[in-house]
Symmetry: C2
Subunit: 195 residues, 2 copies
Protein backbone atom coordinates (compact mmCIF):
# COMPACT_ATOMS: atom_id res chain seq x y z
CA UNK A 1 0.00 0.00 0.00
CA UNK A 2 2.83 2.40 0.85
CA UNK A 3 4.37 1.86 -2.59
CA UNK A 4 1.02 2.45 -4.30
CA UNK A 5 0.57 5.71 -2.43
CA UNK A 6 4.05 6.93 -3.37
CA UNK A 7 3.39 6.09 -7.01
CA UNK A 8 0.00 7.73 -6.80
CA UNK A 9 1.34 10.97 -5.36
CA UNK A 10 4.11 11.01 -7.96
CA UNK A 11 1.40 10.73 -10.59
CA UNK A 12 -0.55 13.56 -8.95
CA UNK A 13 2.58 15.66 -9.18
CA UNK A 14 2.89 14.93 -12.91
CA UNK A 15 -0.75 15.75 -13.51
CA UNK A 16 -0.33 18.99 -11.55
CA UNK A 17 2.45 20.17 -13.85
CA UNK A 18 0.14 20.23 -16.83
CA UNK A 19 -2.00 22.98 -15.27
CA UNK A 20 0.97 25.10 -14.11
CA UNK A 21 1.89 26.15 -17.64
CA UNK A 22 0.91 29.83 -17.48
CA UNK A 23 3.16 32.91 -17.60
CA UNK A 24 5.94 33.18 -15.01
CA UNK A 25 7.15 36.58 -13.83
CA UNK A 26 10.24 37.52 -11.85
CA UNK A 27 9.76 39.66 -8.70
CA UNK A 28 10.52 42.79 -10.78
CA UNK A 29 7.84 41.94 -13.33
CA UNK A 30 9.93 40.42 -16.11
CA UNK A 31 8.21 37.68 -18.12
CA UNK A 32 10.28 34.49 -18.36
CA UNK A 33 10.67 32.81 -21.76
CA UNK A 34 9.35 29.27 -21.18
CA UNK A 35 12.05 26.71 -21.98
CA UNK A 36 9.45 24.22 -23.20
CA UNK A 37 7.25 26.42 -25.42
CA UNK A 38 8.00 24.19 -28.42
CA UNK A 39 5.98 21.52 -26.56
CA UNK A 40 3.02 23.88 -26.18
CA UNK A 41 0.08 23.63 -28.56
CA UNK A 42 0.85 24.91 -32.08
CA UNK A 43 -1.90 27.16 -33.46
CA UNK A 44 -0.65 27.95 -36.96
CA UNK A 45 2.14 29.39 -39.03
CA UNK A 46 2.38 31.88 -41.87
CA UNK A 47 5.03 33.05 -44.29
CA UNK A 48 5.80 36.71 -45.00
CA UNK A 49 2.74 38.01 -43.11
CA UNK A 50 3.44 41.73 -42.83
CA UNK A 51 1.23 42.17 -39.77
CA UNK A 52 3.82 40.37 -37.64
CA UNK A 53 5.63 42.82 -35.38
CA UNK A 54 9.05 41.52 -36.40
CA UNK A 55 8.11 40.30 -39.87
CA UNK A 56 10.22 41.49 -42.75
CA UNK A 57 8.53 43.53 -45.43
CA UNK A 58 11.12 42.30 -47.93
CA UNK A 59 9.38 39.83 -50.27
CA UNK A 60 12.76 38.38 -51.25
CA UNK A 61 13.36 37.32 -47.63
CA UNK A 62 10.01 36.35 -46.13
CA UNK A 63 9.90 35.13 -42.54
CA UNK A 64 7.90 32.28 -41.03
CA UNK A 65 5.87 32.89 -37.90
CA UNK A 66 4.86 30.02 -35.61
CA UNK A 67 2.31 30.59 -32.85
CA UNK A 68 2.14 28.42 -29.71
CA UNK A 69 -0.19 28.67 -26.68
CA UNK A 70 0.07 27.11 -23.23
CA UNK A 71 -1.82 23.78 -23.22
CA UNK A 72 -4.23 24.54 -20.36
CA UNK A 73 -5.38 27.74 -22.11
CA UNK A 74 -5.85 25.80 -25.37
CA UNK A 75 -8.06 23.25 -23.64
CA UNK A 76 -10.14 26.02 -22.05
CA UNK A 77 -10.58 27.73 -25.44
CA UNK A 78 -11.77 24.50 -27.04
CA UNK A 79 -14.41 24.21 -24.31
CA UNK A 80 -15.57 27.84 -24.20
CA UNK A 81 -14.26 29.84 -27.18
CA UNK A 82 -12.69 32.27 -24.68
CA UNK A 83 -9.16 32.59 -23.37
CA UNK A 84 -8.82 32.02 -19.62
CA UNK A 85 -6.82 34.35 -17.41
CA UNK A 86 -3.09 33.42 -17.57
CA UNK A 87 -3.20 32.54 -21.25
CA UNK A 88 0.19 32.97 -22.90
CA UNK A 89 1.09 32.94 -26.60
CA UNK A 90 4.56 32.66 -28.06
CA UNK A 91 5.20 34.07 -31.55
CA UNK A 92 8.36 32.49 -32.91
CA UNK A 93 9.76 34.10 -36.06
CA UNK A 94 12.16 32.10 -38.22
CA UNK A 95 14.01 32.74 -41.43
CA UNK A 96 12.88 30.83 -44.53
CA UNK A 97 15.11 28.91 -46.85
CA UNK A 98 14.33 27.39 -50.21
CA UNK A 99 17.58 25.58 -50.76
CA UNK A 100 18.72 22.31 -49.30
CA UNK A 101 18.21 18.57 -49.43
CA UNK A 102 15.53 17.47 -51.91
CA UNK A 103 13.70 20.81 -52.08
CA UNK A 104 13.37 22.34 -55.53
CA UNK A 105 10.66 24.90 -54.76
CA UNK A 106 8.97 26.48 -51.79
CA UNK A 107 10.29 27.41 -48.37
CA UNK A 108 11.03 25.67 -45.10
CA UNK A 109 12.04 27.00 -41.70
CA UNK A 110 15.53 27.85 -40.51
CA UNK A 111 17.00 29.88 -37.63
CA UNK A 112 15.03 31.83 -35.02
CA UNK A 113 14.99 35.56 -35.75
CA UNK A 114 12.78 36.79 -32.91
CA UNK A 115 10.53 35.57 -30.11
CA UNK A 116 7.60 37.58 -28.82
CA UNK A 117 4.77 36.91 -26.39
CA UNK A 118 1.21 37.94 -25.59
CA UNK A 119 -0.11 37.39 -22.06
CA UNK A 120 -3.61 37.70 -20.61
CA UNK A 121 -3.36 38.61 -16.94
CA UNK A 122 -6.25 40.61 -15.52
CA UNK A 123 -4.65 41.35 -12.15
CA UNK A 124 -1.25 42.37 -13.50
CA UNK A 125 -2.25 44.47 -16.53
CA UNK A 126 -5.10 47.05 -16.44
CA UNK A 127 -5.49 46.52 -20.20
CA UNK A 128 -5.70 42.72 -19.56
CA UNK A 129 -3.44 41.79 -22.51
CA UNK A 130 0.27 42.67 -22.64
CA UNK A 131 2.95 42.21 -25.30
CA UNK A 132 6.62 41.34 -25.00
CA UNK A 133 9.69 41.11 -27.24
CA UNK A 134 12.52 38.93 -25.89
CA UNK A 135 15.27 40.41 -28.07
CA UNK A 136 17.42 37.30 -27.77
CA UNK A 137 17.17 37.20 -23.97
CA UNK A 138 15.27 34.81 -21.72
CA UNK A 139 13.10 37.46 -20.07
CA UNK A 140 11.23 40.55 -21.24
CA UNK A 141 9.40 43.64 -19.98
CA UNK A 142 5.83 44.36 -21.06
CA UNK A 143 5.44 46.99 -23.77
CA UNK A 144 3.50 50.10 -22.69
CA UNK A 145 -0.29 49.74 -22.65
CA UNK A 146 -0.53 52.13 -25.62
CA UNK A 147 1.97 50.18 -27.79
CA UNK A 148 1.20 49.51 -31.45
CA UNK A 149 0.76 45.84 -30.52
CA UNK A 150 -2.01 46.68 -28.06
CA UNK A 151 -3.83 49.00 -30.46
CA UNK A 152 -3.60 46.70 -33.51
CA UNK A 153 -4.72 43.62 -31.56
CA UNK A 154 -7.48 45.63 -29.88
CA UNK A 155 -8.83 46.92 -33.18
CA UNK A 156 -8.44 43.92 -35.47
CA UNK A 157 -8.35 40.65 -33.54
CA UNK A 158 -11.16 38.13 -33.99
CA UNK A 159 -11.50 36.92 -30.37
CA UNK A 160 -10.65 39.22 -27.47
CA UNK A 161 -7.20 40.60 -28.37
CA UNK A 162 -6.07 37.51 -30.28
CA UNK A 163 -5.77 36.90 -34.02
CA UNK A 164 -7.90 33.76 -34.07
CA UNK A 165 -8.74 34.58 -37.72
CA UNK A 166 -5.29 33.17 -38.54
CA UNK A 167 -5.70 29.93 -36.50
CA UNK A 168 -8.05 27.84 -38.64
CA UNK A 169 -8.87 25.20 -36.02
CA UNK A 170 -9.74 27.83 -33.38
CA UNK A 171 -11.71 30.03 -35.78
CA UNK A 172 -14.17 27.16 -36.14
CA UNK A 173 -14.47 26.91 -32.34
CA UNK A 174 -15.08 30.66 -31.97
CA UNK A 175 -17.77 30.56 -34.67
CA UNK A 176 -19.49 27.61 -32.98
CA UNK A 177 -19.31 29.20 -29.51
CA UNK A 178 -20.31 32.67 -30.77
CA UNK A 179 -17.27 34.40 -29.29
CA UNK A 180 -16.06 36.43 -32.30
CA UNK A 181 -15.64 40.13 -31.51
CA UNK A 182 -18.46 42.38 -32.76
CA UNK A 183 -16.00 44.67 -34.58
CA UNK A 184 -14.48 41.67 -36.36
CA UNK A 185 -17.92 40.43 -37.40
CA UNK A 186 -18.87 43.88 -38.76
CA UNK A 187 -15.68 44.02 -40.86
CA UNK A 188 -16.27 40.44 -42.07
CA UNK A 189 -19.70 41.43 -43.37
CA UNK A 190 -18.30 44.57 -45.04
CA UNK A 191 -15.33 42.67 -46.52
CA UNK A 192 -16.40 39.04 -46.86
CA UNK A 193 -12.93 37.82 -47.82
CA UNK A 194 -11.79 38.72 -44.30
CA UNK A 195 -14.01 35.89 -42.98
CA UNK B 1 -8.05 7.82 2.73
CA UNK B 2 -10.54 6.29 0.31
CA UNK B 3 -11.02 9.68 -1.38
CA UNK B 4 -7.26 10.23 -1.63
CA UNK B 5 -6.83 6.84 -3.26
CA UNK B 6 -9.58 7.52 -5.79
CA UNK B 7 -8.00 10.87 -6.64
CA UNK B 8 -4.61 9.24 -6.82
CA UNK B 9 -5.74 6.53 -9.21
CA UNK B 10 -7.53 9.11 -11.35
CA UNK B 11 -4.24 10.97 -11.55
CA UNK B 12 -2.42 7.77 -12.47
CA UNK B 13 -4.92 7.32 -15.27
CA UNK B 14 -4.18 10.83 -16.56
CA UNK B 15 -0.45 10.29 -16.38
CA UNK B 16 -0.85 6.97 -18.19
CA UNK B 17 -2.53 8.66 -21.13
CA UNK B 18 0.51 10.77 -21.86
CA UNK B 19 2.63 7.69 -22.59
CA UNK B 20 -0.09 5.87 -24.56
CA UNK B 21 0.13 8.29 -27.49
CA UNK B 22 1.55 5.92 -30.11
CA UNK B 23 -0.14 4.59 -33.26
CA UNK B 24 -3.44 2.72 -32.84
CA UNK B 25 -4.43 0.01 -35.31
CA UNK B 26 -7.76 -1.71 -35.85
CA UNK B 27 -7.82 -5.55 -35.83
CA UNK B 28 -7.58 -5.51 -39.64
CA UNK B 29 -4.45 -3.34 -39.58
CA UNK B 30 -5.94 0.06 -40.35
CA UNK B 31 -4.15 3.00 -38.72
CA UNK B 32 -6.51 5.29 -36.80
CA UNK B 33 -6.23 9.06 -37.32
CA UNK B 34 -5.62 10.42 -33.79
CA UNK B 35 -8.34 12.91 -32.86
CA UNK B 36 -5.89 14.96 -30.79
CA UNK B 37 -2.91 15.21 -33.14
CA UNK B 38 -3.15 19.01 -33.11
CA UNK B 39 -2.08 18.73 -29.46
CA UNK B 40 0.99 16.66 -30.38
CA UNK B 41 4.39 18.33 -30.66
CA UNK B 42 4.75 20.57 -33.72
CA UNK B 43 8.04 20.03 -35.56
CA UNK B 44 7.89 22.58 -38.35
CA UNK B 45 5.97 23.85 -41.33
CA UNK B 46 6.82 24.77 -44.89
CA UNK B 47 5.09 26.44 -47.80
CA UNK B 48 5.06 25.06 -51.34
CA UNK B 49 7.66 22.37 -50.62
CA UNK B 50 7.44 20.14 -53.66
CA UNK B 51 8.81 17.09 -51.85
CA UNK B 52 5.53 16.71 -49.97
CA UNK B 53 3.55 13.74 -51.28
CA UNK B 54 0.36 15.80 -51.63
CA UNK B 55 1.99 19.17 -52.20
CA UNK B 56 0.93 21.13 -55.22
CA UNK B 57 3.54 21.92 -57.81
CA UNK B 58 1.55 25.00 -58.82
CA UNK B 59 3.44 28.05 -57.58
CA UNK B 60 0.25 30.13 -57.81
CA UNK B 61 -1.39 27.88 -55.21
CA UNK B 62 1.27 26.76 -52.76
CA UNK B 63 0.27 24.51 -49.86
CA UNK B 64 1.39 24.63 -46.23
CA UNK B 65 2.60 21.45 -44.56
CA UNK B 66 2.56 21.08 -40.77
CA UNK B 67 4.36 18.16 -39.12
CA UNK B 68 3.39 16.83 -35.68
CA UNK B 69 4.85 13.92 -33.69
CA UNK B 70 3.48 12.03 -30.69
CA UNK B 71 4.81 13.65 -27.48
CA UNK B 72 6.47 10.55 -25.98
CA UNK B 73 8.48 10.01 -29.19
CA UNK B 74 9.50 13.68 -29.20
CA UNK B 75 10.81 13.44 -25.64
CA UNK B 76 12.77 10.27 -26.51
CA UNK B 77 14.32 11.99 -29.55
CA UNK B 78 15.42 14.97 -27.46
CA UNK B 79 17.19 12.55 -25.11
CA UNK B 80 18.77 10.23 -27.68
CA UNK B 81 18.58 11.69 -31.21
CA UNK B 82 16.76 8.50 -32.27
CA UNK B 83 13.08 7.75 -32.79
CA UNK B 84 11.70 5.08 -30.45
CA UNK B 85 9.54 2.24 -31.72
CA UNK B 86 5.89 3.42 -32.04
CA UNK B 87 6.85 6.88 -33.21
CA UNK B 88 4.10 8.46 -35.31
CA UNK B 89 4.21 11.60 -37.44
CA UNK B 90 1.23 13.42 -38.89
CA UNK B 91 1.74 15.53 -42.01
CA UNK B 92 -1.15 17.98 -42.27
CA UNK B 93 -1.43 19.82 -45.59
CA UNK B 94 -3.44 23.04 -45.74
CA UNK B 95 -4.28 25.55 -48.41
CA UNK B 96 -2.65 28.98 -48.19
CA UNK B 97 -4.44 32.28 -48.44
CA UNK B 98 -3.01 35.77 -48.74
CA UNK B 99 -6.24 37.69 -48.41
CA UNK B 100 -8.18 38.49 -45.29
CA UNK B 101 -8.17 40.66 -42.20
CA UNK B 102 -5.14 42.94 -41.90
CA UNK B 103 -2.86 40.92 -44.20
CA UNK B 104 -1.42 42.81 -47.16
CA UNK B 105 1.32 40.36 -48.12
CA UNK B 106 2.37 36.83 -47.41
CA UNK B 107 0.35 33.70 -46.73
CA UNK B 108 -1.46 32.13 -43.80
CA UNK B 109 -3.14 28.75 -43.37
CA UNK B 110 -6.65 27.79 -44.34
CA UNK B 111 -8.53 24.51 -44.89
CA UNK B 112 -7.06 21.01 -44.58
CA UNK B 113 -6.30 19.47 -47.99
CA UNK B 114 -4.77 16.15 -46.93
CA UNK B 115 -3.53 14.27 -43.88
CA UNK B 116 -0.78 11.67 -44.08
CA UNK B 117 1.20 9.68 -41.51
CA UNK B 118 4.52 7.95 -41.01
CA UNK B 119 4.79 5.21 -38.37
CA UNK B 120 7.79 3.39 -36.94
CA UNK B 121 6.72 -0.08 -35.84
CA UNK B 122 9.38 -2.77 -35.95
CA UNK B 123 7.08 -5.70 -35.21
CA UNK B 124 4.31 -4.71 -37.65
CA UNK B 125 6.38 -3.58 -40.66
CA UNK B 126 9.41 -5.52 -41.96
CA UNK B 127 10.70 -2.21 -43.38
CA UNK B 128 10.21 -0.62 -39.91
CA UNK B 129 8.70 2.61 -41.30
CA UNK B 130 5.31 2.74 -43.05
CA UNK B 131 3.38 5.53 -44.76
CA UNK B 132 -0.33 6.30 -44.86
CA UNK B 133 -2.70 8.68 -46.63
CA UNK B 134 -6.06 9.20 -44.92
CA UNK B 135 -7.90 10.53 -47.98
CA UNK B 136 -10.48 12.34 -45.87
CA UNK B 137 -11.24 9.27 -43.74
CA UNK B 138 -10.35 8.54 -40.12
CA UNK B 139 -8.34 5.39 -40.86
CA UNK B 140 -5.81 4.34 -43.46
CA UNK B 141 -3.97 1.31 -44.84
CA UNK B 142 -0.17 1.27 -45.05
CA UNK B 143 1.28 1.92 -48.49
CA UNK B 144 3.29 -0.99 -49.95
CA UNK B 145 6.85 -1.33 -48.65
CA UNK B 146 8.18 -0.30 -52.07
CA UNK B 147 6.10 2.90 -52.28
CA UNK B 148 7.68 6.15 -53.46
CA UNK B 149 7.35 7.42 -49.86
CA UNK B 150 9.46 4.55 -48.54
CA UNK B 151 12.15 4.93 -51.20
CA UNK B 152 12.42 8.74 -50.99
CA UNK B 153 12.55 8.75 -47.18
CA UNK B 154 15.02 5.87 -47.21
CA UNK B 155 17.35 7.62 -49.63
CA UNK B 156 17.16 11.25 -48.49
CA UNK B 157 16.11 11.53 -44.85
CA UNK B 158 18.55 12.94 -42.30
CA UNK B 159 17.76 10.64 -39.34
CA UNK B 160 16.51 7.09 -39.91
CA UNK B 161 13.65 7.53 -42.41
CA UNK B 162 12.65 10.99 -41.20
CA UNK B 163 13.26 14.42 -42.74
CA UNK B 164 14.86 15.94 -39.66
CA UNK B 165 16.73 18.32 -42.01
CA UNK B 166 13.45 20.28 -42.20
CA UNK B 167 12.87 20.39 -38.40
CA UNK B 168 15.37 23.00 -37.20
CA UNK B 169 15.10 22.24 -33.47
CA UNK B 170 15.60 18.49 -34.01
CA UNK B 171 18.42 18.91 -36.53
CA UNK B 172 20.49 20.49 -33.75
CA UNK B 173 19.73 17.51 -31.48
CA UNK B 174 20.74 15.00 -34.17
CA UNK B 175 24.00 16.87 -34.79
CA UNK B 176 24.78 16.93 -31.06
CA UNK B 177 23.92 13.24 -30.59
CA UNK B 178 25.70 12.14 -33.79
CA UNK B 179 22.63 10.40 -35.22
CA UNK B 180 22.55 11.85 -38.74
CA UNK B 181 22.46 9.17 -41.45
CA UNK B 182 25.79 8.51 -43.18
CA UNK B 183 24.25 9.03 -46.64
CA UNK B 184 22.84 12.39 -45.55
CA UNK B 185 26.22 13.47 -44.18
CA UNK B 186 27.97 12.49 -47.43
CA UNK B 187 25.49 14.56 -49.48
CA UNK B 188 25.87 17.49 -47.08
CA UNK B 189 29.62 17.51 -47.63
CA UNK B 190 29.17 17.28 -51.42
CA UNK B 191 26.46 19.98 -51.42
CA UNK B 192 27.07 22.15 -48.36
CA UNK B 193 23.82 24.11 -48.79
CA UNK B 194 21.96 20.89 -47.99
CA UNK B 195 23.28 21.15 -44.41
Amino acid sequence: MKKILILAFAALGLAGQTTGDGPQFSPDGQLTLPKDYRQWVFLSSGLGMTYGPAASGDPAHPLFDNVFVNPSAYRAFIETGHWPDKTMFILEIRSATGQGSIINAGHYQDAVQAIEAEVKDEARFPQTFAYFGFGGKDSATALPADSSCNSCHGQNAAVENTFVQFYPTLLEVAKAKGTLNAAFLRKSIAEPVAK
